[in-house]
C-alpha cells in the first residue's frame, strides 16, 4: 500500500509566535520548527498501517527551509521518503493554493491512501484536507479516530458528538485523523541516523506544473485585511460564599443561559 501523509512543520511550541505587521503573516523565518504534533499522529497512523499491510509512507510538506528538521523527524520515525515543496513563489499561499500544491505533489507518485491531520496546530483552519481530496478526486473521510484497511476498502470510526459513526470508502481515499488517534512513537536513535540517508525530493511550483499566478500570494483568494487582538477579557464576577454561594453561582449560570 502506498501511503502519503500530508503533514505541516510549524514553529516549535516553545516559540512565541509573532505576526509581521507588513505581510500580516506569522514570522516563520529563523524560527525553530518542529513536526506539528497533529502531523506526527498522521505519520504514526501511516506507519502502523504500513507495518500491518506492507507498503511505503511518504511525507509531503510545504514550507520554508526551516521545516527540514520536521521532515527528518518524520523520516526518523520511519517514513520511507519525503517530498518538500520549497519555493519562494508559494509564500503567502492561502488554503486553496496550499491544497493545489499538495495535491499536485501527491499525484507525482502512485498512492492508495492520503492521510492528513484534521487541522494544523498553528493555523487550524481545517480546510486543506477537504480541498486536497477535491483536487485528487478521491473521497474525503474525516474525523477518523480509528482506521482499518481491508483490501481495497477502508473503514473508519468517525468521531461524532455522541460517539462515533462507522464510515466506509473504497481506496484510494483521503483520511483526516483526529488528534489523539494515537500516541506518536519516539524515533529510535537508529531511525535518526537512518533518516540521514533517506531521500527528500524538493519541488517548486513550476515542477508541479502550477503557474505562479495560481499559488502564493498572487493566487490567494483570501486576503488578510487586518489582524487584531481579541478584546480584553472583562473582569470576572467574584462570588463570596456566605452560606449561599452555590445558589448565587446557579443564578448566574441561569442568567447567562448556561443552565
Amino acid at each position: 500500500m502506498n501511503i502519503v501523509v500530508c503533514g505541516k512543520v510549524i514553529p516549535a511550541s516553545s516559540v512565541t509566535i509573532e505576526i509581521d505587521p507588513n505581510t500580516k503573516r506569522m514570522v516563520r523565518k529563523g524560527v525553530t520548527h518542529e513536526l506539528d504534533p497533529a502531523a506526527a499522529s498522521a505519520v504514526e497512523e501511516g506507519l502502523r498501517l504500513a507495518e500491518k499491510h506492507g507498503g511505503t509512507v511518504t511525507l509531503i510538506t510545504m514550507g520554508i527551509s526551516e521545516v527540514t528538521i520536521g521532515i527528518r523527524n518524520a523520516l526518523a520515525m520511519g517514513a520511507t521518503s519525503a517530498v518538500h515543496i520549497l519555493d519562494d513563489a508559494v509564500a503567502g499561499s492561502d488554503t486553496l493554493g496550499t491544497a493545489k500544491l499538495l495535491a499536485a505533489a501527491i499525484k507525482k507518485q502512485p498512492f492508495d491512501l492520503v492521510i492528513c491531520a484534521t487541522e494544523s496546530s498553528d493555523s487550524y483552519s481545517g480546510i486543506v484536507p477537504g480541498q486536497i481530496a477535491h483536487f485528487l478526486g478521491v473521497p474525503p473521510v474525516t474525523f477518523a479516530k480509528e482506521i482499518n484497511v481491508d483490501g481495497t476498502k477502508i473503514t473508519i470510526k468517525r468521531q461524532s458528538e455522541s460517539g462515533y459513526d462507522i464510515v466506509e470508502s473504497m481506496l484510494p481515499a483521503l483520511v483526516a485523523v483526529s488528534s489523539g488517534i494515537n500516541e506518536p512513537r519516539y524515533p529510535q536513535l537508529k531511525g535518526i541516523m537512518a533518516a540521514k540517508k533517506k531521500e527528500i525530493k524538493v519541488y517548486t511550483a513550476a515542477d508541479l506544473g502550477l503557474p505562479a499566478d495560481q499559488v502564493g500570494e498572487k493566487g490567494a483568494r483570501e486576503k488578510v485585511l487586518t489582524i487584531g487582538r481579541p478584546p480584553k477579557r472583562q473582569a470576572g464576577k467574584v462570588v463570596t460564599d456566605e452560606g449561599e454561594g452555590g445558589k448565587q453561582i446557579a443564578d448566574f449560570l441561569a442568567e447567562i443561559k448556561v443552565i
Binding site: E34, R72, N73, Y186, P187, L189, K190, I192, M193
Partner: protein, 386 residues
C-alpha cells in the same frame, strides 16, 4: 575550533529532551525517596537505542562519537534526571570493544546494544585502593581453564542492575612487579553465574546511586572471559578514562544548566521586600557567574570531545573538562540553593536532590585532586605529587 553542532546533533538533543519529558521531576523525586532504580526510564532509553550510541553498527549500535553520547547524557541531567543511572551501560563496553577478542565482542556486544544484557558495573575501587588503583588486592588465580576471584571491592555501582560486570583483579602479586602498573587484569564476570560466591551489600549513601560492597569468595570466571592480555588490565582501564571524563563533564554541564535555569526563574518570580529577589546583585550575580563558568567549561568539553572523535590526544582537555564542569555545576548548585532560600531544602523543589547528585561529580569516578595531579605532572611537567 568550530563547535557548532550539526543538524543531527541538534536533533539528538531535541529527541532526548522529548523522551525525558515523560519522566518529570516527580518521577525522579519518588525514585530518590524510595532509593529505587529508575527501571522504566532506563528501559525506555534502551528500547529507543540511546544507550547503544557508542556501539559500532556491526554490533547493533549506532557507532556515534563521544560528542553525541555526551549530548545524550547532558540532556538527561539538564531535564532534571540523573544520567549516572545508565551512563555506564553506554561506555563500560568500551574496554571490551577496544581490547576484547572477536569472539567476546560477537557474544556480548549485540545483546548489550539491544539492552538484553546489561553491562553497567565496573569493579575497580577497594577499601585499600581508591585513587591509587594500582594497589588493588582482589586476586584472580588461574586454575586450569578458569580463574578464581577472591577479595573485596567497595563503591561498585549498579551490580544489582547488571548481568555482566567488568572486574579489575590482581594476577601478579604487587611485590613481584617492577612496573607497578602491570600485574592487573580485566575480566567479564557473569553476575548471574556468580551467585553464592559473590556477596553484594548495598551501601547507604547521601545519594541514590545503587552502589555496593562486594565480597568475592572463590567466584569462578572462565579463562575465555579474560579481556586482552593478562597483566595489562590497568592499561586498558586508562584507555577508557578520557571518554569517561568527557561524558561526566557533559553530565555536570547538564546539571549546571538545570540549576541556572531554575535559579534564574525563581529569582525573577520570588518577591521579597516588594521586588523580585533577582533584582538584587547578591542573588543575580552568583547565578550569572555560575552561568559563565558552565559555558566556559562547555567549550572545553566540546574541545575534548571533538579531539577525541578525531582520534587526537585529548588527555589534558578531557581532564580539564571534567574538573571545570564539575566545579561549575557545584557553583551553580550553590547559587541555586541560596536563591531558593529555605525552599531549596524542600524536597518538592528538587534543588536539594540535584545538589546532592551533582556534588558526586567532583569526587567520582575520579577525584578532582587526581585530575589536578594529572595536569600538574603530565601536562605541565612538574614532579609527581603522589
Amino acid at each position: 575550533m568550530d563547535f557548532n553542532l550539526t543538524q543531527e546533533q541538534l536533533q539528538i538533543r531535541e529527541e532526548i529532551k522529548k523522551v525525558c519529558k515523560e519522566f518529570p521531576d516527580a518521577y525522579w523525586r519518588e525514585i530518590d525517596s524510595k532509593k529505587d532504580y529508575p527501571e522504566a526510564f532506563v528501559r525506555k532509553l534502551s528500547e529507543l537505542g540511546w544507550l547503544a550510541a557508542l556501539i559500532p553498527e556491526e554490533y547493533g549500535g549506532t557507532g556515534l562519537g563521544i560528542t553525541e553520547a555526551s549530548i545524550i547524557l547532558e540532556e538527561i541531567n539538564h531535564s532534571g534526571g540523573v544520567a549516572t543511572v545508565c551512563h555506564a551501560q553506554m561506555y563500560t563496553m568500551g574496554t571490551l570493544l577496544r581490547h576484547g577478542n572477536d569472539e567476546q565482542k560477537r557474544r556480548y556486544l549485540p545483546k548489550i546494544a539491544s539492552g538484553e544484557l546489561r553491562l553497567q558495573a565496573f569493579g575497580v575501587t577497594e577499601p585499600n585502593a581508591g585513587s591509587e588503583s594500582t594497589r588493588i588486592q582482589t586476586t584472580a588465580t588461574r586454575k586450569g581453564n578458569r580463574y578464581l576471584i577472591n577479595g573485596q571491592k567497595i563503591f561498585i555501582s549498579r551490580v544489582l542492575q547488571s548481568d555482566l560486570m567488568l572486574l579489575l583483579a590482581r594476577t601478579t602479586p604487587y611485590d613481584e612487579l617492577k612496573d607497578k602498573t602491570k600485574g592487573l587484569s580485566v575480566f567479564i564476570v557473569d553476575l548471574r553465574e556468580a551467585k553464592g560466591k559473590l556477596e553484594v551489600k548495598p551501601l547507604d549513601l547521601m545519594i541514590n546511586h545503587h552502589t555496593n560492597s562486594l565480597f568475592f569468595d572463590g567466584v569462578e570466571v572462565p579463562a575465555e572471559n579474560l579481556i586482552g592480555e593478562e597483566g595489562m588490565g590497568f592499561r586498558y582501564i586508562i584507555d577508557g578514562w578520557n571518554a569517561e571524563r568527557i561524558l561526566v563533564a557533559a553530565e555536570a554541564i547538564g546539571d549546571g544548566r538545570w540549576f541556572i535555569e531554575r535559579a534564574a526563574k525563581y529569582a525573577s518570580e520570588r518577591i521579597v521586600f516588594g521586588r523580585p529577589i533577582g533584582s538584587n546583585q547578591g542573588i543575580q550575580f552568583p547565578i550569572a557567574k555560575a552561568y559563565a563558568n558552565v559555558e566556559a567549561a562547555d567549550l572545553v568539553r566540546y574541545q575534548a570531545a571533538t579531539k577525541f572523535d578525531r582520534k587526537e590526544k585529548c588527555g589534558a582537555e578531557a581532564n580539564m573538562a571534567k574538573l571545570l564542569a564539575s566545579e561549575a555545576a557545584w557553583e551553580a548548585a550553590n547559587a541555586c540553593l541560596t536563591t531558593h532560600g529555605g525552599y531549596g531544602f524542600a524536597v518538592e523543589y528538587d534543588v536539594e536532590r540535584k545538589f546532592r547528585e551533582t556534588r558526586l561529580l567532583t569526587v567520582a569516578p575520579v577525584s578532582n585532586n587526581l585530575v589536578l595531579a594529572y595536569l600538574g605532572q603530565h601536562v605541565l611537567g612538574m614532579p609527581k605529587s603522589y
